[in-house]
Point group: C2
Chain length 274, copies 2
């Protein structure tokens, strides 16, 4: 496949309207669209597009000086995806901020599988998150889920959108590779996991057993709560829970860091990583 860069000399060119003022626009995440920024995420988007993982690119905008460096990636997109090229002054006038490193794409998430369909694929390790509201933490959770081979991330509907620009960037593109569902209440998510035969473990400083006591299982789901409040008491009481041994009297670990420690342990005892 090839690409034919289209020069953009005017920030008001209607062809690049979707890129204008993306800092505000991407907060909404409306109509399934999202912003991919940087070389690493662009490469992940190309792979997700090619492998029909439910994401595709609608348009790409590249700073002229970055074009040669990403040509190989751009060639991986279908030729109908337009590649726009602009000089720095025009580029910054279009995007309104300078955090993009000169590599941006508008992506779109297709109709994704629902919670039940996703779990029916039976990934041996699933990460579940309840009420997560911080986009950095969401991105880091996906990065760690990918690192330890989690086959899905499932969230209640109050969780923030993983396809927010910053989450995708912090995830190093893992949001585009790890299938996820975000729907229903946390009770719905838990019910679906149990119905599919998952051994469900809540992770909390108040967990009843040590992390190393989580036994191997054909399907394990790890549930994490928000950083501030953690898991609600009612959920803590209803499911098995584990804790990470820590020095006494300290603020708890970051939620994504805690999840990484637990996912690593579960993946190791189940032989999912090597």
């Amino acid at each position: 496949m090839t690409f034919n860069p289209i020069d953009i000399a005017d920030a008001d060119d209607p062809r690049i309207a979707a890129f204008r003022s993306i800092r505000e626009r991407d907060m909404t995440g409306r109509e399934g669209r999202f912003i991919a920024e940087g070389t690493v995420v662009l490469r992940m988007l190309a792979a997700a597009h090619a492998q029909a993982r439910g994401f595709h690119a609608e348009a790409i905008l590249i700073l002229r000086s970055r074009l040669a460096g990403v040509a190989e990636i751009l060639a991986c997109f279908p030729s109908e995806v337009p590649v726009y090229v602009a000089e720095p002054a025009v580029f910054n006038a279009i995007t309104g901020f300078d955090m993009h490193r000169g590599v941006l794409a508008i992506g779109r998430r297709a109709e994704a599988p629902g919670l039940k369909d996703l779990l029916a694929t039976a990934p041996p390790l699933v990460l579940a998150a309840c009420g997560l509201s911080n986009h950095d933490n969401m991105g880091a959770l996906f990065r760690n889920a990918a690192a330890f081979g989690a086959g899905a991330v499932v969230m209640d509907r109050t969780a923030c959108d993983p396809t927010y620009r910053k989450s995708i960037r912090v995830s190093v593109g893992a949001v585009l590779t790890v299938p996820f569902a975000r729907e229903g209440s946390i009770e719905t998510v838990i019910g679906a996991l149990i119905a599919e035969g998952y051994a469900l473990w809540g992770l909390s400083p108040r967990g009843r057993v040590a992390l190393d006591a989580i036994p191997p299982a054909p399907r394990t789901a790890l549930l994490v709560g928000t950083e501030g409040e953690g898991l609600p008491d009612a959920i803590m009481a209803a499911i098995d829970t584990a804790r990470i041994a820590q020095a006494p009297g300290l603020d708890s670990l970051n939620v994504a860091t805690a999840a990484a420690i637990a996912l690593h342990r579960i993946a190791t005892v189940n032989g999912l990583v090597g």
Copy 2:
């Protein structure tokens, strides 16, 4: 101890000159001064001050609406530390940005123990970092070091300053509680660790043994490299190295996350956390 809030009605008041435009000023970290922001870090600074851990407060600036909420913490500082209070318009005019949550202090780090003196205190677990340049990662490293009872963080002189405002904030104040040294080359740091009898383990995706193979030892030091390059080949060849099992073909874990996983494991097998 008590405190007597001093009203500041003019952003140009010379008494609060140290707080002006701190976003730029704190990048320099000159003369051992640093910026502490937010309630959690202020509480850690008060504790560090009271316990003579080598940090003390020079001045505190509080948004009036936050005063009641932090009064208990302010009362923990010696009465000679001035507490300035301002309304929002003046506060923002002083500080030049709005990320402070209305709670700021200027702190100063006293002459700290050098690398050798610090290691001579023989903490059972030490975190060593080589060439770390990202302030977020530095802060997260300290947070994780504290969580798993590391008694010191030792760095080469090319590492970034942990007392930069953002590092302190990301560390949730752990920069003020975990003793650290930053001096010399990484070879100097490694030499000092070995001279003090530390079992030294480099952490890398190319590590020669799995993390779980690190044996218990009276003193263990974990060495991490920069996120981009990791540990230099010469160092990898010269010391024992361990890897964290991960899914194949992925970008490696964040350096602070990887350190957390390894510190948790080392602290657990040595009985340092429960």
